[in-house]
Symmetry: C2
Subunit: 173 residues, 2 copies
DNA sequence: ATTGCCATGTAAAAGGTTACATGATTCC
DNA sequence: GGAATCATGTAACCTTTTACATGGCAAT
């Protein structure tokens, strides 16, 4: 079973969800399109890790609500006990900065400004989310609290770097 | 042309390299195996972006040393002027932390300790590299300096987070 | 009216990993 | 003697993206 499959089981460890919900929820951790998720859900059901119930909705399309079976829960905890694969990041910006000598310095500055903006947006989003959890006492599990804080750490450090890099390029270093 | 192709052109903007060299050099920015790189190099040559020269080595296997053509250099600077795709990260650890309720807390602590170790190793490596550049006055281009610093920023923030998370789990928060 | 969200699926293409294949040299 | 490095390639497989396909409801 591949990592995305375990990812789907991970999401379902909280509550039953539709494929559509799962697709949205898994994005921050393991980006995937619906075309990849629906077939995997069918496979997970064939293999006995999940089951589904058809929920008829009057205003919206019917949906399949998937939930973990005992076998699925077992598979999850067994997977948790094994070491995690090293993270993989692919960022076009790195490559562009690497060969920035080849282009117009203004292009590189624009790229960095875009990255600054991107990080700021992410930070606003995560700050809003974590305030929701703090104030309104939402269903914040220990895992989500850890991941939230990591996102804040990592986007902040990327933002700091990008701003520093812009200063360097403008000769203010 | 895909991003890996531009990545290869980016590496070649510094100097001519063999496919084997390129495979190693591109790893930090855009992980790829040799089986993906060799066919792409052939294609880039067919399309006129690079050319190669056969270099015979007495002690080691012969190699093809690839270099940018004018067309390749043009393609690079045109690519630099366009916005970069958003970065993509896939980290199994995120998923495991997300559903950590399902498993033994000791498993999660072990995973975080492994991540701490991983970050420390990376930091040691990047610090060594950047000292090399600083002291021995190596061929440090502006791009490489920026990327080096980013690596230090990002691994440090991941390390800080993982150590904070371990404290939280041990109830020292 | 058109865009966007909800909801599910399949098919084709592109991107990426693992395995197969070869062979000399160097280091332990 | 066995593993690691250098060096290039192909084939099979798995993963991921893009495109095809459908259709109702809500909001601007």
């Amino acid at each position: 079973m591949n990592t995305l499959s375990y990812g789907l089981l991970s999401m379902l460890s909280y509550a039953p969800f539709s494929g559509y919900d799962l697709m949205q929820k898994i994005q921050p951790f393991w980006p995937a399109k619906h075309s990849q998720i629906y077939p995997l859900l069918a496979q997970l059901e064939r293999d006995g890790y999940i089951q589904h119930e058809l929920v008829v909705q009057p205003d919206k399309p019917d949906k399949k609500v998937h939930s973990l079976t005992d076998l699925g829960r077992e598979a999850l905890s067994q997977w948790l006990s094994q070491p995690a694969c090293p993270p993989v990041t692919r960022d076009e910006l790195s490559l562009k900065i690497f060969c920035m000598n080849e282009g117009d310095p203004v292009d590189i500055q624009r790229l960095l400004e875009q990255r600054v903006e991107y990080c700021r947006e992410k930070l606003v989003w995560f700050h809003a989310k974590s305030e929701l959890f703090a104030h309104k006492r939402m269903d914040s599990s220990p895992g989500i609290v850890l991941l939230m804080r990591r996102a804040l750490f990592s986007f902040q450090s990327e933002l700091d770097w990008a701003e520093w890099a812009l200063k360097e390029l403008r000769g203010e270093g």
